[in-house]
Symmetry: C2
Subunit: 393 residues, 2 copies
DNA sequence: AGGGTTCTTTTCCGTCGTCAATAAAAGAAC
DNA sequence: GTTCTTTTATTGACGACGGAAAAGAACCCT
């Protein structure tokens, strides 16, 4: 049940306690902080923070840093503690249907290098080859940075068991029970963490994005599919069977269009990329090559096209309202390539959401964040950092 | 942020550590256990369990108990540890629209006495008077049991802040910002815990019911309203704004009947008690006095009546599928007075659920549990026990 | 230079949990 | 009936972690 599939012998985090992990993560995500401030946020005594920080500084993971800027008018200025990004590197990889996106990040999870590799074939072998190529490239780039690469995170859509490091079922890739972590470890020699792609993005948002500091929020991704990452009680929800956040297959209209899952009126069957293209083709009678064309038509004001986007927005709004009603998150973050059409969605999402959110669930803050695929890969790197830092025997 | 609103000075749990609370809860919920077995389940060493158990035995909360039955063929027989139910008592109260149900439980949360008091008026004053009467009765009954009453749990529908002990908004009772814990403490002199009623029932199910041992499950209650309690990561979900589990206001048919929340086609607007009665009246033209009459008509086979129940079942099934798709619980427990009509629902719930559940979310085990209102009150008592045991400064 | 303020560290101590050894309570074997 | 085996429970030594309090450090201001 180790979240990382480890190679022979690798550099490990110097302290193996929950407190150390929490201190490190707090410093990582909440920027340079005075020890006293860390103590307040983590709920430890200042002394405990001093003691937790010392070995991490000695190991080079944290560093001190006086901040000339915000010197207080009174009292001793704080010795800020920050993560030394240059101390270590991680690789994050996101697999999509037609390419593999990889980023090399530092220990602060800042992207240093990003690479894309096209994917001809979705079979595990081909994907692994692309991952290998990507990682090889990134490791080469890492050579110049004089820091060890300590982990690889891989994000794949579908039912992923992070603990086992296996992809149980990915409809998109047509994979079943692929021991991806093990395979990637033998190829790359790195400790590998495998997780679902939306959950990986959710971790990135939790650490560095609009979910920072929130214990309950949701990330809704609009694109080829409609996905959702949930954070409840401060932890990403994985579900008992590995599946969770399937907002794309929430029914919003039982009489709606047929979905590939076999049901009618799923959010994805109305607002997924393929569904939008298809519906606009049907409405206009024009054959479209891709989503960009569909978007262009709607922007031009072709009759029927705008309405398709409006209905898509309503479906998404209803899906978000459902999440809000069931979980009462503090915030919902909408992201994904589909945001390119956000101007066509926005008002409909909002209108349906405010109408359908029950009681104080409507207080939920809905915001959009256009995030490129690199950000998903960064999330994968974040899961690798998580595994590296996490204290679990 | 204390979960219990305490009176002047009361008996407290002897040890204030997470480990002790966990050991006690494990023994409470998983029956008499050998220390070694407790150690295995809690993840502590046997020695730690011995040390945690001792003060609890000295304080009388736990007791030893040799089990002649399951003596092993080999080795030293285990000294089972169990909670001494007779050591302390708790009162649990559930407020409904027309009555207040109270139970007196022992420390094992077994119901010793149950009482109902009718409720003429839903104003806080009247409800508090009923609670006072009920508690007075139960305390009188407790006198004969020679054990102190250590807490009162109150379960109310609506938006309840357990930490503050206040009812922020209860549409059903038409309450706003009632500091119920404080009020009840001054009246009864007991430490009071206030929580949402469905969440209280969910705690009871988590401890003693079909949710025992599960870290992710849901309780769906069918009755006057349709509610839902969620357990994620082993904890009951309260939501950032106090509202969560509003499955009753998940939309299943945007063109459906109008709901009191202002939307169309909510689960509650189709499958709530009032909605079913109304729909059957409309379908048959017969005026009905209550849900029992509606049920009788459907059982007699009056045309149109059965169909209303069928549609209700479908709505519930879709709601459950939505929960399963979003959270991937291991189990969904259906309960509530509405189960009286379960024979008319069952197949439709199941059919829609299996069709609409996505991927391995369909592995979720859906079961029904007819639980009387006393069980809800017992849940309230369970929250009181939780507050009593919980280690939080 | 001295006082005020705030951050950091030190020292000491208590608590809690593990480890390893020991005790205890059986039945089985001879 | 003694001894062995097996399993459970307890003990005591030890170490790690975190808190409290006090001292130290760094700065500003007067």
């Amino acid at each position: 049940m180790r979240p990382t599939h480890p190679p022979s012998r690798a550099e490990t985090f110097p302290v193996n306690t929950p407190a150390a992990a929490q201190v490190f993560t707090t410093v990582l995500t909440q920027g340079p902080l005075a020890r006293l401030e860390v103590a307040r946020r983590v709920g430890l005594s200042p002394a405990a923070v001093t003691k937790a920080v010392r070995p991490l500084i000695e190991a080079g993971y944290l560093m001190e840093d006086v901040d000339e800027e915000s010197r207080p008018a009174l009292g001793r200025p704080a010795n800020l503690v920050r993560v030394d990004g240059g101390r270590a590197l991680f690789v994050g990889v996101k697999v999509t249907g037609d390419e593999v996106i990889g980023v090399l990040t530092d220990l602060c999870c800042r992207i240093r290098v990003a690479r894309h590799v096209p994917l001809a074939d979705r079979a595990p072998k081909a994907v692994l080859a692309s991952i290998a190529e990507l990682v090889h490239d990134l490791l080469a780039a890492a050579d110049g940075l004089r820091a060890p690469v300590l982990g690889l995170g891989v994000a794949v859509s579908g039912d992923v068991d992070r603990g086992e490091g296996t992809v149980r079922y990915s409809p998109f890739l047509d994979w079943r029970d692929v021991p991806l972590a093990e395979l990637a470890t033998t190829i790359t020699g790195l400790p590998v963490t495998v997780d679902n792609d939306v959950r990986a993005l959710t971790v990135a948002e939790q650490w560095f994005g609009a979910g920072a500091g929130l214990s309950d929020f949701a990330v809704v991704t609009v694109g080829a599919g409609i996905g959702c990452g949930l954070v409840v009680h401060g932890r990403v929800v994985a579900g008992a069977h590995g599946v969770a956040g399937e907002i794309g297959h929430v029914t919003v209209d039982p009489g709606g269009p047929l979905c590939h899952c076999g049901n009618r009126g799923c959010v994805e069957a109305i607002a997924g990329e393929a569904a939008v293209v298809r519906q606009i083709q049907e409405a206009t009678g024009v054959q479209l090559a891709d989503a960009a064309q569909a978007l262009a038509m709607a922007r031009e004001g072709v009759p029927g096209a705008r309405e398709v986007y409006a209905r898509a927005g309503e479906a998404i709004g209803r899906g978000i309202a459902t999440v809000a009603n069931l979980l009462g998150p503090e915030r919902v973050i909408i992201s994904g390539e589909g945001l390119a059409a956000y101007d066509l969605f926005a008002e409909h999402i909002r209108a349906v959401f405010t109408a359908a959110a029950f009681g104080s669930a409507a207080q939920c803050d809905v915001q959009t964040r256009p995030l490129p695929f690199e950000e998903w890969a960064r999330g994968a790197a974040a899961t690798a950092i998580q595994s590296f830092v996490r204290a679990d025997s």
